[in-house]
């Protein structure tokens, strides 16, 4: 794991290339993290790729509600030769949740970015296949957001069908069940 000095060196090198790329750095429990400007994410990951972080282990989405900007995306990078890990974090607001997709350079991000879109509504620009992945395709809302209530989706069973009058409404293609 890059130590505090190594992390600052990395951040400085990034800032030399592009003044606005790195917003902040953090070191928590022995783990280094770069907080970057969302629009520069592709360049930052490309730079870290050149530094040996060749394996994108994971992409996480998260919601910082009630802090602003609310939505966050984390990229966990791994250097298999030096056995080093670094996290790249970015945050976007909910009214313009756009992040450039890194899928063209990192094919592994494909499913993971789709999951972040599905769960948090972060739009990944230039993603080759920007659809929901786990939730139904016609689903509305982003269930992992913090203000989405747990149990927000009524589950339809035979026994409670009568208790949900008009559950089929807003579904134009479907016919109401035969009474």
């Amino acid at each position: 794991v890059p130590d505090a000095t190594g992390l600052e060196l990395l951040a400085q090198e990034l800032r030399d290339a592009d003044e606005a790329a790195v917003l902040d750095t953090s070191h928590f429990r022995g783990k280094a993290a770069l907080i970057v400007e969302p629009r520069r994410i592709r360049e930052v990951l490309q730079f870290l790729l050149g530094k040996g972080f060749t394996f994108l282990a994971s992409v996480h989405g998260l919601d910082y509600f009630p802090e602003e900007p609310r939505l966050g995306v984390h990229y966990e990078l791994l250097d298999m030769r030096e056995v080093d890990r670094i996290t790249v974090k970015l945050r976007v607001p909910t009214d313009a949740p756009e992040v450039p997709s890194v899928t063209p350079e990192w094919p592994t991000a494909d499913h993971q970015e789709r999951e972040v879109y599905d769960m948090f509504g972060v739009i990944f620009a230039d993603h080759p296949d920007p659809r929901r992945i786990l939730m139904p395709e016609d689903y509305e809302g982003y269930p992992q957001r913090r203000d989405f209530p747990i149990g927000g989706e009524p589950v339809l069973f035979t026994f409670n069908e009568q208790n949900m009058p008009g559950w089929w409404e807003n579904r134009p293609e479907q016919q109401p069940p035969n009474e």
């Binding site: 928590f28 989405g61 909910t94 009214d95 756009e98 499913h111 993971q112 992992q144």
Partner: protein, 421 residues
């Protein structure tokens, strides 16, 4: 139904379900030899998909020209549920993600919480965890071997593997009280010490199991049908697998010895001597061989952990995080208060974000937790190896026969509970 009221400015066009289905674009596929392309669904309900997985395949004759996995059929919102539970009550739900690797799920979660708390785990607890990890790895690989062999037509393998798996599950029942989803691993250690006689039972199993693996190998590896189904099928080069984020036995089959147990040892794995089996070319046969050998290495680790099992506490003595022993409750007011606090509110975790990766039977399983200072996690995300590895299925199967797809999927070993979470 209530949803988030702040609608994002940028929205996907609202299509109905049928139109969305059509958005799965497969028409760009070139087909020089014949004009006849056939799109078929394999799954979602099909015994060979190892769960509720749907594969949308475009075939030209018997050859797959394009393939897309469609997932989400067993999405149960476990990550959302975990946000509503205090840390130690989230362990049982997290365990149910990858239902063949429950000790690994629990440990990825507990390890992340322990990192956040900066909590030391006693040595005995680490060894007890390792024993259960490796038994779990054997159990998971046995299910893989049995069902995979079933997929390529070797029915008797299934019974042999499940016979031995039963033996492992009996061991779990003996030490934890449950066969599956044991809630054995707790933050700071394990739930309780192993019972008297457990080491002897484990040794009974480990003394016989390497021979069993050899028997399985004899049954399969000299079988011409199995060899033809596996050798030089679905080869993907190492660089491509790394770009796709694939880890675990699939990556090791190409000769890359990446294993977190060796590379970034956790839970005292540095104390044990074991080898990392690797393959050579990365075809289905290598994937098969790597997992077979891994089972034997797991046996070695278990025996070393039993030999060197240290004395001491099995869970952290810090009463702020671990329940006090039952007998203290009758005599100690302090213990009663701690017990009450832990069971009602739970402990608070200082704010922070950690990612804790471990080596599950299928590759890197990482748990990301964001703590906001309260007694419940603000975000739990599992980097499930099956979810990421599934992306490699397209590279493995395009331009192979549809019959090989079944064998390849079996060798990929996806667990849909982990993929959909």
């Amino acid at each position: 139904m209530s949803i988030a009221d702040d609608k994002p400015a940028v929205r996907q066009p609202q299509l109905d379900y049928r139109q969305m289905e059509e958005s799965v674009e497969l028409s760009h596929v070139e087909h020089p030899d014949s004009d006849e392309l056939l799109t078929i669904n394999i799954g979602p309900h099909h015994p060979a998909t190892h769960g509720v997985l749907r594969l949308l395949c475009t075939l030209e004759g018997e050859t797959i020209r394009e393939m897309k996995p469609l997932i989400g059929y067993v999405h149960t919102g476990i990550e959302k549920t975990a946000e509503d539970k205090s840390y130690w009550k989230a362990i049982p739900v997290v365990e149910r993600m990858d239902y063949l690797a429950y000790f690994f799920n629990a440990h990825a979660f507990c390890g992340a919480v322990e990192t956040l708390l900066d909590l030391e785990v006693p040595k005995r607890a680490q060894y007890l965890r390792v024993i259960h990890f490796e038994l779990n790895r054997i159990m998971s690989h046995l299910v893989w071997l049995g069902t995979s062999a079933l997929d390529i037509g070797a029915i008797s393998m299934f019974w042999y593997c499940f016979r031995d798996r039963e033996q492992v599950l009996d061991l779990f029942e003996m030490s934890t009280g449950q066969r599956m989803h044991t809630r054995y691993i707790q933050v700071g250690g394990v739930m309780e010490d192993i019972p008297v006689g457990f080491p002897r039972k484990v040794r009974e199993f480990t003394s016989i199991f390497p021979d069993r693996v050899d028997q399985f190998a004899d049954l399969l590896e000299r079988n011409e049908i199995v060899l033809q189904r596996l050798r030089n099928v679905a080869t993907v080069p190492e660089e491509r697998l790394l770009a796709l984020g694939v880890s675990g036995p699939l990556l090791r089959a190409t000769g890359n010895p990446w294993d977190l147990r060796k590379a970034q040892p956790y839970s005292s794995y540095e104390d044990f001597e074991f080898a990392i089996p690797v393959g050579t070319v990365g075809d289905n046969y290598d994937r098969f061989r790597v997992r077979m050998q891994e089972m034997k290495e797991s046996v070695r680790i278990i025996e070393q952990a039993l030999d060197g099992l240290p004395e001491g506490p099995y869970i952290t003595p810090d009463r702020k995080y671990a329940l006090p022993p039952r007998h203290e409750l009758a005599t100690s007011m302090e213990a009663l208060i701690h017990h009450f606090k832990l069971v009602t509110e739970g402990y608070r975790v200082p704010p922070g974000e950690v990612y804790y990766p471990i080596e599950s039977p299928r590759g890197e399983m990482g748990c990301f937790i964001r703590a906001d200072g309260s007694a419940k996690p603000a975000r739990v995300h599992m980097r499930d190896p099956s979810f990421v590895n599934l992306q490699a299925l397209r590279d493995m199967t395009v331009n192979t026969y549809v019959a090989d797809l079944i064998a390849t999927l079996a060798m990929l070993d996806p667990i849909l509970g982990g993929i959909d979470r």
